[in-house]
């Protein structure tokens, strides 16, 4: 059986003042119903571009899907018309953004905004849609939902706004829910509440969740499977346990060991030197070579491909050659 959402060999390019750059290169990911896929990496690694590609929200021009396929229950979204995408967005797949304040309309009450999403996809009266909206606010844990539904986004706290976003996203029970750094703007106790809520909703609706984050701790708590991205490519992919306990790629190892742990840690954190290279400066070799302790001549001349090594696929010459 094929997965609910399957991204195959996706390639996305952008025209920039430096000429065309490849933002995503041979990205293949899949997620099943009821499963959470964590996508992790630093800023500029292509995590959000992957999410926007699935939603059909890549700004075009300058961006364009230059190859590959995105299959939602078998249907290739890269070939879908804009009208078809509009019908799918919200109903079959939905996205939760990082900053709830900028993704909500400040001049409508939150109840009306959720009701609008419901009426777009379901044949219900305005009254019924508003009652559904109140029920959803209650479901996502907003106290006195009747009153809150009649309030405007600025009257809610950051955590409540993100709950409103989640209520809106799940209003039509989408099959796929993409959460792009949903808690970055929130405090840690509120982040925990949002994570718990996402897990509950997954149990209720059986949705597939793609969680995009830079936080390996969040991956550990939330994800069944993980894809690690670097400079527009997936460099390691597997079950969360395998990737977190037996990371193979030097970048994944670095990401895990550079987190200051809550438990007793070493005095010095392992660092990854340098920064993610700008996409227009990527050469023929491995994009991570510049920052890698296991760099060899081959790493500069040939891009490593994602292939099965040990437990799970990884794209690294040093691992393939048994040097690490």
């Amino acid at each position: 059986m094929s997965a609910l959402l399957q991204i195959e060999d996706l390639r996305v390019t952008f025209n920039t003042r430096h000429g065309p750059v490849t933002a995503l290169d041979s990205v293949s990911l899949s997620v099943n119903a009821g499963e959470t896929l964590g996508v992790v990496g630093e800023s500029g690694c292509g995590k959000s571009i992957t999410a926007l590609s699935v939603m059909g929200l890549i700004p075009s021009p300058p961006g364009k899907i230059a190859g590959g396929a995105i299959r939602l229950a078998g249907e290739d979204l890269t070939r879908a018309t804009e009208a078809r995408m509009r019908a799918l967005r919200g109903a079959e797949m939905a996205m939760i953004f990082q900053e709830p304040m900028t993704s909500l309309n400040p001049v409508f009450t939150v109840g009306d905004q959720i009701a609008e999403a419901i009426m777009l996809h379901q044949k219900v009266s305005a009254d019924q849609a508003f009652r559904d909206a109140v029920a959803l606010l209650d479901r996502v844990g907003i106290p006195s939902p009747d009153r809150r539904a009649r309030e405007y986004p600025h009257q809610l706290s950051g955590g409540m706004r993100q709950r409103v976003m989640i209520a809106m996203a799940v209003s039509c029970r989408p099959k796929v829910l993409i959460a792009d750094e949903p808690t970055t703007a929130l405090d840690v106790t509120v982040q925990a509440q949002i994570f718990d809520l996402l897990n509950e909703i997954q149990r209720d609706f059986g949705a597939a969740i793609i969680l995009i984050t830079h936080d390996m701790g969040a991956i550990s708590e939330m994800a069944d499977r993980v894809a690690v991205m670097y400079a527009g490519r997936v460099i390691e992919q597997g079950l969360a346990d395998d990737v977190l306990d037996l990371p193979q790629h030097p970048y994944t190892r670095g990401l895990i060991s550079c987190i200051p742990a809550l438990g007793k840690g070493e005095d010095t954190l392992r660092e990854i030197p340098g920064v993610v290279p700008p996409l227009h400066l990527l050469g023929a070799g491995c994009a991570f070579a510049e920052r890698c302790a296991h760099r060899a001549p081959r790493c500069d001349s040939e891009k490593p491909l994602l292939r099965a090594q040990g437990h799970h696929p990884v794209a690294c010459h040093a691992v393939a050659e048994g040097r690490i």
Binding site: A192, N199, G217, L262
Partner: protein, 323 residues
């Protein structure tokens, strides 16, 4: 030996807009009678969520925000009593690193000038000595001398934070206030800056007042930790005591909310301490314990009587039912 910094009953109030034309001006108490001390060469972490008053506490300590009352003894001298000129002279001993390395550096100035400026203002050394000091600081924070004449936009976020650190160190300060110094950085870059701060602390014997919302970061850098909630310190302890045996339910909730690699979905992890809701408004703080409404073990007394900070072993905790 007396501590480098000893803060007693620090209180900061902000006046809010008048309610109505002739109405009273309500007062918001952002920091409420906070006391702590910091020894030379140690780092005190102040942890809390947004609105807990952690940044205001630090800013009031170094007089960048006006305190309503209290005492800030720095090397035996009350900073709050100094006149402007004396305070200006004192500033060479207390420096600051900001959260955002993008907005805290002048985009039109060359980085060598940015780093040298505190010495120019304080009239430290001859021009040649100042230039030599800038080069030395660049090396100390891990930048190259050939980068001296570049502009801030030519650096990455991590490098900019290194420039901010170099600027803060020019006057040989004794106390460095770090306000969320790594929260704007990617995790791989965070580690570089945290290691740098740890190394500078040992090499230069610096003391840090370290503001952060990230408990992992605080555990890594700080010797002692104070947890703030709604303008008050609710728990303060040496690092290991706080992380291994947190006494206040809020500290416990913070620790269980922080994502960690030790907690796996695959192993059926369910958060043990759950707290709901948001902190109460500081404009009209509750009469009893500020955390009572979110606390899993709150009793009647918690809503009536405000708990005081009391010492239990190594830990000071403000809770009627600690442990």
């Amino acid at each position: 030996m007396s501590p480098l910094l000893d803060v007693r009953d620090l209180t900061v109030q902000f006046a809010l807009p008048r309610q109505g034309f002739f109405g009273p001006r309500p007062v918001l108490e952002a920091v409420r009678q906070v006391s702590f001390s910091l020894e030379q060469g140690r780092a005190l972490g102040i942890v809390g969520e947004s609105g807990s008053g952690k940044t205001t506490t630090a800013m009031a300590t170094i007089r960048l925000v006006e305190a309503a009352s209290g005492q800030v003894m720095f090397q035996g001298e009350d900073l709050l009593q100094l006149d402007d000129e004396a305070m200006r002279k004192r500033r060479r001993d207390v420096q600051l690193i900001f959260q955002d390395p993008y907005s805290s550096l002048n985009p039109r100035a060359r980085v060598a000038d940015i780093v040298r400026e505190p010495m120019d203002l304080m009239e430290i050394g001859t021009p040649d000595e100042r230039r030599a000091r800038v080069t030395e600081l660049f090396r100390l924070v891990g930048l190259r001398p050939d980068q001296l004449n570049l502009f801030p936009h030519q650096f990455s976020g991590g490098q900019r934070q290194r420039i901010s650190i170099a600027r803060a160190l020019t006057t040989n300060p004794k106390l460095l206030v770090c306000d969320e110094p790594v929260s704007a950085l990617d995790v791989a870059i965070q580690a570089q800056i945290l290691n740098l701060l740890a190394r500078l602390k040992t090499e230069l014997g610096l003391s840090y007042l370290f503001i952060s919302h990230d408990l992992g970061v605080v555990r890594h850098v700080c010797d002692d930790v104070a947890v703030m909630y709604l303008g008050k310190i609710v728990e303060m302890a040496p690092r290991d005591a706080l992380f291994d045996a947190p006494q206040h339910p809020y500290t416990q909730a913070l620790l269980s909310a922080a994502p960690s690699l030790a907690r796996r979905k695959s192993r059926g992890y369910v958060r043990p301490v759950k707290i709901s809701g948001d902190p109460p408004s500081p404009i009209n703080p509750p009469k009893g314990c500020a955390f009572a409404d979110r606390c899993p073990s709150a009793q009647d007394i918690c809503r009536r009587v405000q708990p005081l900070l009391e010492t239990r072993g190594q830990t000071s905790v403000a809770c009627h039912f600690p442990g």
